[in-house]
């Protein structure tokens, strides 16, 4: 079926735009960038149509990449039902976001660079999804990390952007370290990195109820997943990653790349199912992340930060789903989340675009009348994420919650409470942005305030062009109706469903929490806008703690970063480098100078003296040959 064409199109786009984009006109760049993704999407559709129904994984072998002893790694692409879901999400949502970016990035510098990176990201993401062994998956994994770094630091003239890029990359390195070790252990245990062979091997192993090799592998893989998918303890990079352009946030840091961790855990479900301890760890981490991020989201004023913490929180739900054994529910949530979170980010981008770069919620307000389409589509997304029944978010989240209830009721309650928080903070942002009075300055003096939007100050908030609102509408429809796509049924051959009856009360609870959260937000930010501040004042200490994101960054800084820097400075720099290496080099130099000052006496500059030395040496050589026994 020529699966290789799927990532090849974006790669071609990247090469064309990256190498020659400087000389291309904008329409041509658009054509190449969006066209390549479009072709990729169409090829995905054709492929899946041809393969339907994918009862058995469809494998394609291209060539042997590494052959060394028993290590045999080939470049294999494979499509099964899980991959099919991800292919559709990546190319479909990717296509919409590419389209949107054409409008959003219109006035930005480095236009071709942006689209080249975006296409490169598509290539690596598709490679990641299509890969049929851990090493190839790792290639995609690292590649998307690279693109994430490049795109976060897209405004590389700003220090905070490059810092955020570095942070994302370095934090991900810790996760990748875990992933690599996990892959090494897998190879040691199963003698291969090919999915088919590894999972066959794993299925023959007994379930490990105590800490063992499988648990180790799974925990190391989980470390990798927490890095890529921004889970505790490695979630700190994602909020900062909002320094990148908004389409990047939507595509990479909401819809696709951050779900790679979930994909990897789901892909390795055969391993995880044999390591219950690791499963529990996954669930606990997911739950804790979901709750923690939701509370932080309550207090943020930067619209993108709010959604970023929301993303972290939702990713936590997905991990929870995987951890409690409902892999298909987790994947389902990946899909719905891709719809509504991409929509949220794109909507936020439209707002920012309309306000010429303003991101602070406190300077918005009453935007509903300026940008009705954005307002309506964002409302749809907010409803979906809040968990209003029959919408996409509710469909997938409820499945996770039910599974959690069956696994452990306390998890369910925490998760449900978090769902309420989610509804509250999302609608808080919505109310602050779209209702009430416009609190921003109408003059374009804030034109330079936002990053990169300089020179684009209209002063008046305005609706975005159709090229941006079109994808918003499409995503809004998907957010509203996406819940009826029964992904769990589709994935049933791969991940068994545990349909057991749960009490009606339990089914009802999420909807109640959703409406409760929306209502509270309505009260706090629409009816009585002062109430929120008085609450914040009443719980001053707690509020400040949450507002400062539990000071996790400061904690990491003090515990990890500072010791490393200090250690580098004192031990590595002053001690090893300056003392040892420089000392050796300087010592050698001093030694040569000392020797030279003695040998210099021979360098008289008189050629005849040199000649005499040469002759003397030759005579010695000849005599030595004579003594040694002649010329024979």
């Amino acid at each position: 079926m020529n699966l290789w064409l799927i990532p090849a199109f974006p790669l071609l786009g990247f090469l064309l735009n990256g190498l020659f984009g400087r000389r291309f006109s904008k329409p041509l760049i658009n054509l190449i960038a969006v066209g390549s993704v479009m072709l990729s999407f169409l090829w995905v559709l054709k492929t899946l149509n041809g393969l339907y129904p994918i009862e058995q994984p469809h494998l394609e072998h291209y060539f042997t990449w590494i052959q060394s002893g028993s290590l045999n790694i080939s470049v294999d692409f494979g499509v099964d039902r899980l991959t099919a879901v991800f292919l559709l999400i990546v190319t479909g949502v990717g296509l919409l976001i590419h389209t949107y970016a054409m409008g959003y990035m219109e006035h930005e510098g480095g236009y071709y660079r942006f689209f080249a990176y975006l296409n490169l990201f598509m290539f690596f993401m598709l490679t990641l999804v299509l890969a049929h062994n851990y090493l190839l998956l790792f290639v995609g994994w690292e590649g998307v990390g690279l693109c994430s770094y490049l795109l976060i630091g897209f405004y590389f003239l700003e220090k905070f952007a490059t810092d955020a890029g570095n942070k994302a990359f370095i934090v991900n390195r810790i996760g990748d370290f875990g992933f690599s070790l996990g892959a090494f252990l897998i190879f040691k245990q199963f003698g291969s990195l090919d999915f088919t062979q590894v999972f066959e091997g794993a299925n023959k192993m007994p379930v490990e109820n105590s800490f063992g090799l499988m648990t180790g592998i799974c925990l190391l893989l989980l470390l990798g997943a927490t890095g890529k998918s921004a889970q505790i303890p490695l979630y700190v990079w994602l909020p900062d990653a909002m320094a990148g352009p908004t389409p990047v946030s939507a595509l990479i840091h909401a819809a696709t790349m951050v779900t790679a961790g979930v994909y990897m855990v789901a892909r390795s479900s055969a391993l995880f199912l044999h390591a219950p301890i690791a499963m529990d760890t996954v669930a606990v981490i997911g739950l804790a992340t979901a709750f923690l991020a939701a509370t932080i989201g309550l207090t943020q004023f930067d619209i993108k930060k709010v959604f970023a913490y929301s993303t972290v929180s939702q990713l936590g739900y997905m991990f929870l789903g995987c951890g409690v054994g409902a892999f298909s529910a987790g994947i389902f949530h990946v899909m719905t989340h891709a719809f509504f979170k991409a929509l949220l980010f794109l909507g936020a981008g439209a707002v920012i675009h309309g306000l010429s770069g303003e991101q602070d919620l406190r300077k918005m307000g009453g935007l509903a009348k300026y940008m009705p389409i954005t307002c309506a589509t964002l409302a749809a997304a907010s409803l979906a994420i809040a968990g209003v029944p029959f919408l996409s978010g509710a469909a997938s989240k409820d499945l996770i919650l039910e599974a959690a209830y069956q696994h452990a009721p306390w998890m369910y309650w925490v998760a449900v409470f978090t769902a309420g928080l989610t509804a509250f903070y999302v609608w808080r942002a919505w109310f602050m942005a779209f209702t009430g009075e416009y609190r921003g300055k109408k003059q374009d003096e804030h034109a330079d305030a936002g990053h990169g939007h300089g020179g684009h100050g209209h002063g008046q908030p305005h609706e975005s062009p159709f090229v941006m609102t079109g994808p918003l509408i499409a995503l809004a429809l998907l957010s509203l109706g996406g819940g009826f796509l029964s992904v769990t049924k589709w994935l049933e051959p791969m991940f068994a469903l545990h349909e057991e009856a749960v009490p009606f009360m339990i089914r009802l609870m999420p909807a109640v929490m959703a409406f409760g959260g929306i209502f509270l937000a309505f009260v706090f930010y629409y009816l009585k806008p002062g109430l929120a501040d008085s609450f914040a004042g009443a719980f001053g200490g707690l509020y400040r703690l949450v507002f400062d994101k539990y000071r996790i960054d400061e904690f990491y800084n003090a515990v990890v970063v500072e010791p490393v820097i200090q250690g580098s400075r004192t031990v590595l720099w002053k001690g090893v480098d300056a003392g040892g290496i420089d000392g050796a080099v300087n010592g050698l130099g001093r030694l040569s100078r000392g020797t030279g000052s003695i040998l210099r006496l021979m360098q008289s500059g008189s050629i005849r003296a040199y000649a005499a030395w040469v002759v003397f040496g030759s005579v010695l050589v000849i005599l030595a040959i004579g003594v040694a026994g002649g010329l024979r």
Binding site: S604, G605, S606, I607, R608, A611, A612, V615
Partner: protein, 108 residues
């Protein structure tokens, strides 16, 4: 015809000894002379001595590869003379001396 006091043919070692003598004289000139042109000519003398050795062994081995080698030595000597003499001319132009003892600094 009266018998000559030496044999009918010349032992090959005589040629080699002649070559050695010429070579040593070349060395002596190279070390002893002060005029850079004479020094240069001493080098040529040494090259000639070496050529004689080549030709001699070529005769011994009845193989003319030695001739080829001597030929190459000549060509290289020609190239060397062209460049060397050009250098000597330049040095003389800048320093107004041909005595190598006085040309003992790289930078003037």
């Amino acid at each position: 015809m009266p018998a000559l006091p030496f044999p009918d043919s010349v032992p090959l070692s005589w040629y080699l000894i002649l070559s050695a003598v010429l070579f040593c004289l070349g060395i002596a000139g190279f070390v002893y002379r002060r005029n850079v042109i004479t020094v240069f000519m001493s080098i040529e003398l040494m090259l000639n001595a070496v050529n004689l050795t080549f030709i001699t062994f070529s005769y011994k081995l009845k193989h003319i590869d030695g001739h080829i080698f001597a030929f190459f030595v000549m060509v290289v000597a020609a190239a060397e003379a062209a460049v060397g003499l050009a250098i000597i001319l330049t040095v003389f132009k800048n320093r107004h001396t041909l005595l190598i003892d006085e040309v003992n600094t790289l930078k003037w």
